[in-house]
């Protein structure tokens, strides 16, 4: 570990956690506190003037992304890190239609994966450490709740759902003919010659079937994830630091291991490489693109923002924070194939391409149990289930779950103590399916007059 010192470890610990957890997380302990006991408002994080030492979450040594602190941090990244705005523009928001309240939703029941005991929708919210959840059915809000540190006018880390936003931008450019999915990356970003990305195709990067030598073994101080984290940190580097600075320098150091296109490997650095590809293709960074292509077009009610590295590069693989309803607008736009109120925001082919799915055989090699038979396409997760559902997903329970058959979009922000969605899927995916069926049944059998 040529550059590492205790100081660097301390300095980059917080961001390392953020970055690292955005892909696979290491071994974790069982949570000590349930959702209620870990409620960040009840715990009083950052309350007081100044907050007392045991309630302080700051840079750099407070380990701000450890549970239960992370329950506060997911709503406050900008107060800890430099960020770039994802502007909504200056106009009036386009309100999302709201359906009459349906009290039945809370009592929709489902059986968690690996369990014999049924659970209600309502109980699943606490089980999943939900911070905010929005359900759209046929374009109308049928359910919306806020918990923990999130309020309707707040923002929450999208974590790796950021990847799906970056991927959607790429699919849009591919559909528009601006970006050639079959091009070798080196032809777009010459600096990546000699790195693993150079001879991969844009599509392989978009679907994460690149063959990368990239270790996320947290116990190994030489693991690539630590080098990446140190490079990505916007905080000052130690004087003796000689490693790469920023996402772009780091990406040039990534070496190949294997053959591109053979196996799906969920590695955040693919999305950072895709961000670079998009920037070179459009001459705009990902935050600016998200603003121009999505946030300014959807009638968003809040700006979003992205964390940046020390060269101002937005974190394409995990840096977005946004409002719950604004991600609902994005989800609904994707469900609608890019159309909003009769206007084509982007070509329908962008969504069709995602929904068609990726290479199932390549995906199977990664061994995701709750996602068996699934695939990954354009940085979205495709379930290949009977409803044709697909999703954006991020650590600690973030999801935009789109069920085209049920005409349903669910956006969930969460701060589950476990990073991996494998811990959260059992009380989530069956709940989403049950809610889809409930909404479809309701739709199929409108209330009839008696007799």
């Amino acid at each position: 570990m040529p550059y590492s010192t205790t100081k660097l470890a301390a300095i980059s610990a917080g961001l390392s956690a953020l970055v690292a957890m955005s892909s696979h997380a290491g071994p974790e302990q069982a949570p000590a506190l349930d959702a209620d006991a870990s409620d960040p408002v009840k715990l009083g994080w950052m309350e007081g003037f100044p907050p007392p030492q045991n309630k302080l979450i700051g840079q750099p040594d407070s380990n701000y992304f450890s549970f239960p602190k992370l329950r506060w941090t997911v709503c406050h990244f900008r107060e800890l890190l430099p960020t770039k705005q994802v502007s909504r523009g200056l106009g009036a928001p386009i309100p999302l239609p709201v359906a009459p309240e349906d009290k039945g939703i809370d009592y929709v029941t489902f059986t968690p994966i690996g369990s014999d005991t049924k659970m209600t929708w309502k109980d699943s919210l606490a089980a999943n450490y939900t911070d905010g959840i929005l359900v759209l059915h046929q374009g109308e809000i049928v359910y919306e709740r806020y918990f923990g540190a999130l309020r309707e006018d707040g923002k929450h880390g999208a974590m790796s759902m950021t990847k799906s936003m970056t991927g959607l931008l790429a699919e849009i450019l591919v559909a528009e003919g601006t970006l050639d999915e079959n091009a070798k990356v080196v032809t777009i970003v010459p600096e990546l010659e000699g790195s693993a990305f150079g001879d991969a195709t844009v599509r392989q990067v978009m679907d994460m079937t690149t063959a990368l030598r990239y270790s996320e073994n947290y116990a190994d101080p030489n693991a690539d994830i630590w080098v990446y984290s140190a490079a990505a940190s916007p905080l000052p580097k130690p004087a003796d630091y000689t490693g790469p600075r920023g996402y772009y320098e780091y990406l040039q150091t990534v070496q190949k291991e294997g053959t591109h296109g053979e196996a799906f490997g969920y590695k955040t650095i693919n999305t950072d490489a895709l961000g670079w590809i998009l920037a070179r293709t459009t001459n705009k960074d990902v935050a600016t693109l998200l603003s121009e292509r999505l946030w300014r077009k959807i009638g968003a009610e809040q700006d979003g923002y992205m964390t940046v590295d020390s060269t101002g590069t937005p974190f394409a693989g995990g840096g977005l924070s946004a409002g719950l309803r604004d991600l609902g607008r994005i989800g609904q736009l994707v469900l609608n194939g890019g159309e909003l109120n009769g206007e084509e925001i982007f070509p329908v082919e962008a969504v069709e391409n995602i929904r068609s799915g990726g290479d199932k055989a390549a995906f199977a090699k990664a061994g995701y149990k709750a996602l068996e038979g699934g695939s990954y396409r354009g940085m979205w997760w495709i379930f290949h289930n009977p409803h044709g559902a697909f999703a954006a997903r991020g650590v600690h329970g973030q999801t935009i779950y789109i069920d085209p058959t049920a005409e349903m979009v669910i956006v969930r922000f969460a701060s589950h103590p476990k990073a991996k969605n494998a811990a959260i899927d059992p009380t989530s995916l069956p709940a989403f399916q049950a809610l889809a069926e409930y909404l479809m049944a309701k739709n199929a059998t409108p209330e009839q007059p008696e007799e």
Copy 2:
């Protein structure tokens, strides 16, 4: 200098500059580049993926607040530092009325202070390194221009105009009876006992007539400004750092020198103390208060934001960035005595108190030549001129200039190479007066039919 090391100097250099320049600035060189030659867009700062080394403005060693880099930085603080949102809420903005364009404004002429040569309004914009300027007359936009790195949907550092926002909040609370201007500070913030602030009154803090031992001699490495800057920096402290952490710890170390109430002394730390007083009075930090009492009430079209220290405390003395038209809304609201579209946003007494002015004799001791006969009240500058004009002012040319007689509000964002407004007033204050007279004359003589 117990804590200082070369590393600390490097780490805190950027923020030190920001903080330091917010009050009096040290000796400066003559500008090498004029407004056009220093245009940050033409210079290409932060352009490219990644930006080349000679176009990079980043943390911590790029000296980002030096001219001409500062012309980019004033529009991008959040990309370099942690910040807290000043939320506008979620509703639709209230548009500012726009008057028909008046091409005569550009040709309004005035004589700069200390000059024999007349200058046009239009030429004054470049002379002052204007980034954005908005003129409201009788509540309508009569002039609006953007230059440099600023666009209508961008934000610009308000610098010490932040003080006037904090001061306005204090005047509102005083007018509402929530804050006693005669109370000793120690009765509100007990931690300030033993510091210079403890036995000062709230009003003395609000009017900066406290007697503080506080040196801003930049050549002296032990000067208080450096200790303050190091404390205020949100960036990680060096391992050997033993100084105060955050605004609140620093304020407790400030010692008294002289007698409170006798002389005006423009020291940013007064505003930070006032921010603490406001927080303890309302249980809300200044960013939250600005949102609740102003931004959410004025139909703002953009969120603002404030830089924060490592404990999350917003920089009450200089940390605000905001949109040009939103500061126009604030200026118009102040001119209107707190009324907007028939609604009382705050009591008129808050503005009356500011306009009544501060202690002229105390102010005179500070020796501001361009402001002779003026005073400072509630963190606003009162000119005591025939028009009753008063202003928020910040380094490098920021101003909200309110002329009640002419029913005129001017908001100017600028990035003049010199920090002190003494360098900018000569081509600004006479221009504002000339424009006021032009608009009044226009109003007095509506176009007449011929003959």
